[in-house]
Symmetry: C2
Subunit: 347 residues, 2 copies
Amino acid sequence: MANKSKIPSDTISKIKAIRKQQLSADDLAQGIFEGNKAMLAKAITLLESTNPAHFEKANAVIEKCLAQPSNSIRLGITGVPGVGKSSFIETLGKTLTEKGNKVAVLAVDPTSSLSKGSILGDKTRMETLAKDPNAFIRPSPSGNSLGGVAQKTRESIILCEAAGYNVILVETVGVGQSEIAVHSMVDFFLLLKLSGAGDELQGIKRGIMEMADGIAINKADGNNLENAKLAVTEFSRALHLYPPKSNGWTPKVKKCSALENSGIKEIWEMVQQFVDHTKSNGFFEVNRQQQNKNWFVHTVDEYIKQFFHQKETFKTEQARLLTEIEEHKISPFYAAKILLDKITEEL
Amino acid sequence: MANKSKIPSDTISKIKAIRKQQLSADDLAQGIFEGNKAMLAKAITLLESTNPAHFEKANAVIEKCLAQPSNSIRLGITGVPGVGKSSFIETLGKTLTEKGNKVAVLAVDPTSSLSKGSILGDKTRMETLAKDPNAFIRPSPSGNSLGGVAQKTRESIILCEAAGYNVILVETVGVGQSEIAVHSMVDFFLLLKLSGAGDELQGIKRGIMEMADGIAINKADGNNLENAKLAVTEFSRALHLYPPKSNGWTPKVKKCSALENSGIKEIWEMVQQFVDHTKSNGFFEVNRQQQNKNWFVHTVDEYIKQFFHQKETFKTEQARLLTEIEEHKISPFYAAKILLDKITEEL
């Protein structure tokens, strides 16, 4: 009480007002262009918002950011839990910022709403990188559908690039369709693996192998080193079984140790070789163009869904019909038809 | 010319008329209840149709079929290409029909529109079963989205059950999200594996292992037999690492050989034990109820998408905007917003 009384009440109001300040799309974009991390974070929070009122403003910020020139490299990184993704990203990130790059780390984890953020949810996992002024780390957006989660990450890439981040690392976990989503938003897709671990521990599917532009055998240190060398040979041979990629690039296998900081530079050299290769044959640009077209198609479907889901009639009717289904009064298909009729006749 | 002239032209017209005959929902349902395979196939073709005019009738047939009592077991079967799914299903199917069951084989393969039907597309793969009067085999519906493909298979299950098929086998291929879709429409989920094959060949993810109610090590014959026995032990141990299932069932691992018809009966006994177990603890019914609710939610979203996609404005505007994106005149997100605005303002 004694302490509080020293601050005049109008000052407190002013501070509160500033905190609550409604920043315009222009304010946010300006902050982003200046590389202000707090503004970047605010803008990402805005675009992740499910509040329809925020939708317009978030879109305005994205459009402004798209107009900014960027010469970024977007790198997707996947691997099952336990493969050492966090330490790998931290070591790679530090290596890159030391070379003068600005590194943004994003994530796509559709399970995070269930598990309360298994990826990047805990910033302490990348303590050193999190403190680096030239690094920006953002956990996976949460959401009910992979489509929604991935779209928000995709939009965040644009904002990070406008804020001057020239290397965008997009992490995902080696389960489910999330790899496909991340693959569709990056230039280079890196698969992390362990040597010596059995089938079930690695759990990487054939389809993921096919998507990879490069494989890194992580934890190639100590007793694992010999196994890692063997794994490099094995996976190189396995990759040869796949048909050649349309971009003319032959995926490579490297070993590394995030712990000992060995092999990390070589992996980055591989990424740069890839970028040089695909920029010279035009594929880099063609790929980004195709990605843009795919994202348009997916975004439209996501918007259509949102358009209906936010209607009051939709919510109340859906709840009512779910109860009827539970009570065996109606079939799921007929209930769906009733709901569609109800919302479309109301339009 | 000489032969043709023997058939009076009005007879030809009559035959054509019968062939083209527009069967009513009642006709189709009646045919299904009588176990008429041709009528069942026609009704499934109707529900697979993308023609909006067929939508109403297909729904009417489904509603009628849902009213029919059924005591079916729905069994999902997955495994990567090469694991021997077709021979397994053929051998299991024959074993079941010999015991007096009626067996329907359906499939969910979202890649089939690309690969022109990799699953069940070729009926010759299950030649003996296809000729069995008590078996009904239907290839995967084709479609642009897994949601659409899976929904149609799900609806086909209802029709098959109304036609008296009491064992429904739903096959899927061990890649992508299709396992999750099939898992959400069956009572028991069986994973086929091979012994001795390496990580990449099997390519089954941890998540799939977690969904399995049982694992069958196939091709346990000849030189593989000893390896298969080892694999049974290994996988049984691996399954113990997962948390117990809410249905109180402990997944089991069995070996079998479709070639030698060994172990197949034991796998069916396992399925029946599971059904007894979950029917006695109520989970069987609870699971089907939850599946119905999930299907309702997914079906609504699919309907909403279709509702817009079939509009002419949608098609022309989408094509126009894709060109603009290609020419870098507009961003994918802004284009999506324009398309949404265009179609919603027209409503």
